[in-house]
Symmetry: C2
Subunit: 277 residues, 2 copies
DNA sequence: TCTAGTATTCCGAATTATGGACTTTTTTTA
DNA sequence: TAAAAAAAGTCCATAATTCGGAATACTAGA
């Protein structure tokens, strides 16, 4: 699954390897990872992998299961991350919307957030039907351009940025979906016209979905709200109601998100006073 | 705040520094962190800090805010971290119980999990009253021995381990609560007798709580279920009902956790087949 | 008990990180 | 608005750290 990723351009280092290790551990967090498998998957020598793991353990990011010798991410890692009070952020703000939507439609609802060239699934509320989606579970990533939520975001990025992303992502997209650049551009135009991304053609058999962007104050997408459901359940009528509700929740989130985003709006100097060590 | 931590014993490395950077970024995630401040706080030369940050950015763990030049953790980091909490699946398994409990009592319910010498709050469902707890929000940590949920776990660890923890944690505990070792040991015995930890003496004024352990098949605590409420609401009668319900939910979780905990019970070989790269 | 297959440790070779000095950019002050 | 100050980012010779082959210690299965 998780490739070594990216062009190895320039500053490779032991740190990169360590990060790859963390990612690999995350990808196999349930069963844990054995040293050998890790080393093989990431093309590391066994001693190197071992040394890095040892350091990561010393730093509390990783732990070794006592039964088997397998390694996995430590909870402290999770704890550190959640300490980062991005908590005040979109996740908490959006959660009530997700719950409302899920309860209203009896479908699975997703919150995707843009991260560079990808959309990351930040939250997900399950409906009663088992849904297969591109993003997979919370934490999953898709290239911008695949799936409704993801396309909804892509469609509402500044043109220049969008172009760059399309250029970069097109190969990745074609790799995973039967779409070419023309299809994608047509789709984007449609999304911008309607304000929502609907999947007519089924990219996963039997599945369908609908996504709308969550915009910042400049009208640029930072996230998206989407639902995934059985294709048979997405009739014309339902689909229009759903779109409306998604849009209104997205707007609600935008409003809560925007009024004060100090990290973006205020001159950096104004904040600095607080951060005396 | 965040110290450079620990004895610098043995394997120091650039990786350690990188981890310190990540922790520092986590601690200052609201405003973002400037290169200089980071370097000063962590005793790094500016070029080193810069180089490490560059690598972390290349790996997608960190991003640079475009307005100021400050750095902060990227969403991908959070994405990886959230995988860490999914390890045992206990989060998903326990959530329904939390919801039920919270709905039944109208109080705040916590799921704590053991992590080395601490208990980490993995999940928390809010009741209508604002509750202050030791663990704080999701992701928060307390030393094992402080608070009901935490004591519930401590009480059901193997004796030897428990002793080691008490020895290690006692200073940290006394630092934060008016309890000495004798009090703690008496408390633990009581918990083991009753099967639940109840806070009679109020450690946070006006607050009270009740916690029960979630045991693995060997009767060792891996987590705890607890509620936090106003002291005035924890009458004798309520308290006994609540205890019963907590216990029954804890047992339910245990059962779901145990019958198939492949990572623990099955010969490692049985699992390996699946984990072909 | 023996025999893989792994995990862990050692250690000399060499690749990599390091920080002083320098350039560029941003912010503050006059 | 310009000049000064502060911070960000870059370069490079030096020094230290990482690297991986090989040896050793475990562990599970036969």
């Amino acid at each position: 699954m998780a490739q070594i990723s990216e062009s190895d351009a320039g500053g490779s280092s032991s740190l990169s390897k360590a990060v790859h290790i963390l990612k690999d551990l995350a990808a196999h967090s349930v069963e844990g990872v054995r040293l050998i498998d890790l080393a093989r998957r990431l093309n590391l020598s066994q001693p190197s992998a071992h040394r890095l793991l040892k350091t990561l353990i010393a730093e509390g990011m990783v732990e070794q299961m006592s039964d088997s010798k397998s390694y996995r991410l430590s909870l402290e890692f999770f704890s550190i991350a959640s300490q980062a009070s991005r908590r005040e952020g979109i996740l908490e703000i959006a959660r009530p919307s997700l719950l409302r939507l899920s309860a209203t439609f009896n479908d699975t609802v997703f919150l995707l957030v843009r991260s560079n060239f990808d959309a990351i699934c930040l939250d997900r509320v399950e409906g009663p039907f088992p849904i297969r989606s591109f993003t997979g579970d919370i934490g999953g990533k898709v290239p911008l351009g695949i799936g409704q939520g993801s396309i909804a975001i892509l469609s509402y990025l500044p043109e220049e940025e969008r172009e760059a992303i399309i250029k970069f992502n097109m190969p990745r997209i074609m790799d995973r979906a039967a779409i070419d650049e023309v299809d994608l551009r047509i789709k984007i135009e449609e999304v911008r016209r309607i304000g929502a991304a609907q999947m007519n053609f089924e990219m996963i058999e039997g599945m369908a979905g609908l996504g709308v962007p969550v915009l910042d104050r400049n009208g640029i997408a930072v996230a998206s709200l989407s639902i995934g459901t059985l294709a048979s359940r997405l009739t014309e009528m339902r689909s229009s109601t759903i779109t409306d509700l998604l849009k209104s929740e997205a707007r609600a989130i935008s409003n809560k998100l925007n009024p004060f985003d100090p990290t973006l709006r205020y001159p950096a100097s104004a904040l600095r006073a607080q951060s005396k060590s």
